[in-house]
């Protein structure tokens, strides 16, 4: 990442470009290239041939901003004389960049230092020049397949001894399999020349029996070893995938539905597993076998061997020809399965709503559609595969035809003994038998690769930063926002230039209409997201210098919709401190006004709460989540509309509990009912992502501004409701 940083009018010559970017739309909204250059003195937009379409002196500019449009945006400059000028249009492909440029222009025009993030994103694959599905992401086509394969095998590393044994075992199996055809030859030649005695026959047969026993023993051993390896690798793969997902930033979870993420951990790892159990050992043993047999064949009769093997290149050709389309199709199948999962997950989690709105049929229809889509894709893929398979079977059967024709002629000519002919025939089956299944390996391989790529894609995503930072901090509780800017997507700011200072132990209330950015502010305090600009400091230390796990362990959150895990009440209260004793848990529950209702349940603290806590009422869940926060004993406490969904009496109890909880901690509280923020030391009023007022309840009431307005509206509404009752 590179940050432009230059002082305007400083040492740099006026014509040196400070910002130089290219848009993809022209003035009329047609696709075309426009180059925007900002120097220390002016902003110029020009066509590729250098004809300027817009030129503004920096000194005339009062404001510059990105105006989000649909499927794109435009930059708008307000001159000091009030005239508004549209500078340049662009599609969504570059709008994030231009929204940064707009800030840069504003900084320069105000004589500030230029400090914007002009990281150049990779849009096309540097290797094949294909557009990348995700900027800076992997190219799905060029992603190095052999590298992916090596990475799968990298998971073998901890099991190198077992792997070596397996390979050795496979080599032995191959060697053993080559001997019986040789015995057949000796026997047949013995029969035809009448030179074989009964005792000789029995000796040969004893050898054959010995080989069969050894071969089967080895096969059992190999099979067990392979299963041992494959299940371990599958477990490791799943664990690493889950770990990688856990550490991804919240932005990832915003974009991807839970079901789709889950399918990467289960389905995609399964595919790799199948490949390792079924495909890979098959491939190794049979490749070895094929090589051994081919060598053997050539040692018998080179001409015959060459003739027999003629169809093999055709088989390989068919494999290659069908490989791409078939693997594409299997990719599609796995995507559709993920979508089916997603749908299932969603409708089952929302089953109450589904039932309440009697929309079982509609949900079934949606499920069925996706189910059918999967069926279509799976059928097409498998059918295509069987076509390829049939063609290969035909090519393989040609091998036998050739042997009987050419080999038969050689026997008639006396060039080959009957025994040798029989041996070649047995060996032939050993090459061609597996050869037709190589396509199947291919099939497993394609599925496994598609799965592995989806897994590695997740593993390769950058996890939340600061996981590995050393610096820890025992938080006192001072929190400072310094010109913080943030948007869930960069070109659409949700928080703009937010600054405030909170002393340790203060209780701050955030007030504002829904959508004003209260929860977003809190998300930033929890470091669920990174600010796009500005800094957040805790005890004077920038947040991005502290180890994130250490920091979060000192924060407690109570949300409007408390999330409980399926387990007992005690386990849920102790979630942040699993080794807590029952005494500690009860102390916390008492403080949360939850103890009484818990003990009046038949199983008390051992009551099962059900998935997401469905067996408890909203107020009960809320008090458990408060007890959880109390036991966690955080330095910074966050309450996001913690009491919005409960009745007045429960709210009073929760308020009381919260009153105990906030003592001595920095607290950020958001409440819908403004009266519940009476205890706050200070209130911060937000409007469209900006702080509009800040002060104590009294100060703000006296000011008769936004807050006072809100309070009065609310009072009026409450009265109306009161009358209505």
């Amino acid at each position: 990442m590179q940050t432009a940083s230059l002082t305007p009018g400083g040492a740099s010559a006026p014509e040196i470009p400070l910002i130089d970017v290219t848009s993809d739309l022209d003035e009329d909204g047609l696709y075309g290239v426009r180059r925007l250059v900002v120097t220390a003195t002016e902003v110029t937009v020009s066509t590729p041939t250098g004809v300027p379409t817009c030129r503004i002196a920096l000194s005339d500019i009062a404001k510059a901003r990105h105006d989000p449009l649909v499927s794109g945006g435009r930059m708008i400059v307000t001159l000091k004389n009030g005239v508004i000028i549209p500078v340049v249009n662009y599609s969504l492909a570059v709008s994030e960049k231009f929204s940064e440029v707009a800030r840069g222009i504003e900084q320069l025009s105000q004589g500030e230092e230029l400090s914007i993030d002009m990281h150049d994103e990779l849009k096309r694959c540097p290797k094949c020049d294909r557009l990348l599905p995700e900027k800076d992401g992997p190219c799905p086509v060029c992603v190095n397949r052999s590298k992916t394969l090596w990475r799968i095998f990298g998971f073998l590393k901890p099991y190198s001894r077992a792997t070596t044994m397996l390979v050795a075992g496979s080599v032995c199996t191959t060697a053993l399999n080559l001997i019986p055809p040789y015995i057949q030859k000796q026997l047949v030649d013995g029969f035809t020349s009448k030179s074989l005695e009964t005792s000789g026959l029995l000796q040969w047969m004893a050898l054959w029996l010995g080989l069969a026993l050894a071969g089967s023993g080895l096969q059992i051993f190999n099979g067990r070893l392979m299963t041992y390896l494959a299940t371990h690798i599958s477990k490791d793969l799943r664990a690493s995938t889950y770990r990688a997902i856990e550490y991804l930033s919240m932005k990832y979870f915003d974009r991807k539905p839970v079901g789709a993420i889950a399918s990467r951990v289960t389905q995609d790892t399964d595919r790799v597993w199948h490949f390792l159990v079924d495909g890979f050992p098959f491939f190794i043993t049979n490749s070895l076998m094929a090589l051994g047999v081919i060598g053997f064949l050539f040692s018998i009769d080179a001409v015959l061997a060459a003739a027999i093997l003629v169809p093999i290149p055709f088989i390989l050709l068919i494999s290659v020809r069908y490989w791409k389309p078939i693997s594409n199709m299997f990719f599609k199948v796995s995507q559709r399965m993920a979508r089916l999962h997603m749908q299932l997950n969603e409708s089952l989690s929302g089953i109450r709503v589904v039932k309440a709105f009697v929309s079982e049929d509609r949900e079934f229809k949606r499920f069925d559609e996706r189910n059918k889509a999967w069926q279509q894709a799976a059928m097409q893929a498998d059918q295509k595969w069987y076509t390829a398979f049939g063609m290969m079977t035909f090519a393989a059967s040609l091998g036998a035809l050739i042997n009987w024709t050419v080999g038969g002629m050689f026997v008639l000519q006396g060039r080959l003994t009957l025994g040798e002919f029989i041996m070649v025939n047995s060996l032939l089956i050993m090459v061609y038998g597996p050869m037709q299944w190589f396509a199947q390996v291919n099939n497993w391989f394609s599925r496994a690769m598609a799965g592995a790529e989806r897994i590695f894609e997740v593993m390769d995503m950058t996890p939340e930063s600061n996981r590995e930072l050393e610096r820890t901090l025992d938080i006192r509780g001072d929190v400072t926002f310094d010109a913080v800017r943030f948007g869930y997507d960069k070109s659409n700011p949700v928080l703009k230039n937010m600054s405030f200072d909170v002393k340790a132990g203060e209780m701050i209330g955030f007030v504002g209409r829904s959508g004003a950015g209260k929860s977003s502010t809190i998300n930033l305090i929890c470091r669920f997201y990174e600010p796009d600009g500005g800094r957040i400091l805790v005890d004077g230390v920038p947040l991005n210098e502290i180890n994130i796990a250490n920091y979060r362990s000192q924060i407690g959150i109570v949300l409007q919709e408390p999330f409980l895990f399926n387990g007992t009440i005690a386990e849920n209260i102790a979630y942040g401190k699993p080794d807590a004793s029952l005494e500690e848990i009860m102390v916390a529950a008492r403080a949360a006004n939850a103890h009484d209702f818990i003990v009046s349940k038949p199983d008390g603290y051992d009551s099962i709460v059900g998935e997401r806590g469905v067996q408890l009422s909203g107020g009960e869940k809320q008090r458990i989540s408060i007890a959880r926060a109390i036991l966690h004993n955080p330095r910074i406490l966050i309450l996001d509309e913690a009491t919005s969904s409960v009745d007045v009496e429960t709210e009073r109890q929760i308020q009381e509990a919260i009153g105990r909880l906030v003592e001595g901690r920095t607290t950020f509280a958001i409440a819908h009912r403004l009266s519940t923020l009476r205890n706050a030391n200070r209130l911060i009023v937000l409007e469209r992502g900006e702080i509009v007022e800040m002060g104590t309840h009294e100060e703000l009431m006296q000011r008769r501004g936004v807050f006072c307005n809100l309070v009065e509206t609310q009072r009026a509404v409450t009265e109306i409701i009161g009358v209505g009752n």
Binding site: L69, G72, L92, A93, L131, P140, N328, E453
Partner: protein
């Protein structure tokens, strides 16, 4: 009502009693009802009025509205499909549109190629840009064949 640009570049809506500056026209449901229900918003994002059809704005205003809508809705209409290729779940498009030539990638077509109705296909690229194919049957046979090979 009267819609015009004053001062230059800023859309103004004047009705009998008041005048709004920086008016933003916004389709209420651009995907399912692409040419009906146009909301006119003031600079704070509050609706001033809703037109059921563009023509309801009155002959004088329609042109201004069209111009502003074209500026705001940077969708493009696909006229020709030069090439489509699907590889490992990503689909690579090369198309001619009413705004000119464009190459883009869509990921998982199940979600990003939406059939609004029989004749209206909406493609959404990885960056969120919209490309409309409407009416689908009006494409030339080659384009249609390429399109059908992936959706």
């Amino acid at each position: 009502m009267k819609l015009f640009y004053a001062p230059e570049g800023r859309l103004r809506l004047t009705m009998e009693d008041r005048s709004h500056l920086d008016v933003v026209p916004a389709w209420a449901a651009p995907r399912t009802h692409p040419d009906r229900y146009l909301s006119l918003l003031d600079s704070k994002g509050k609706e001033i009025l809703m037109l059921e059809r563009l023509e309801d704005a009155g002959a004088d205003n329609v042109e201004v509205l069209r111009q502003e809508l074209r500026r705001r809705y940077l969708y493009s209409q696909v006229r020709r499909v030069n090439a489509v290729r699907m590889e490992f779940g990503a689909t690579y498009w090369s198309v001619e549109t009413d705004r000119g030539h464009r190459d883009f990638v869509t990921q998982s077509l199940q979600e990003n190629a939406q059939w609004i109705d029989e004749e209206f296909l909406l493609l959404i690229d990885v960056e969120g840009n919209h490309y409309q194919v409407k009416p689908v049957s009006a494409l030339d046979p080659d384009s249609l064949r390429r399109l059908r090979s992936v959706v």
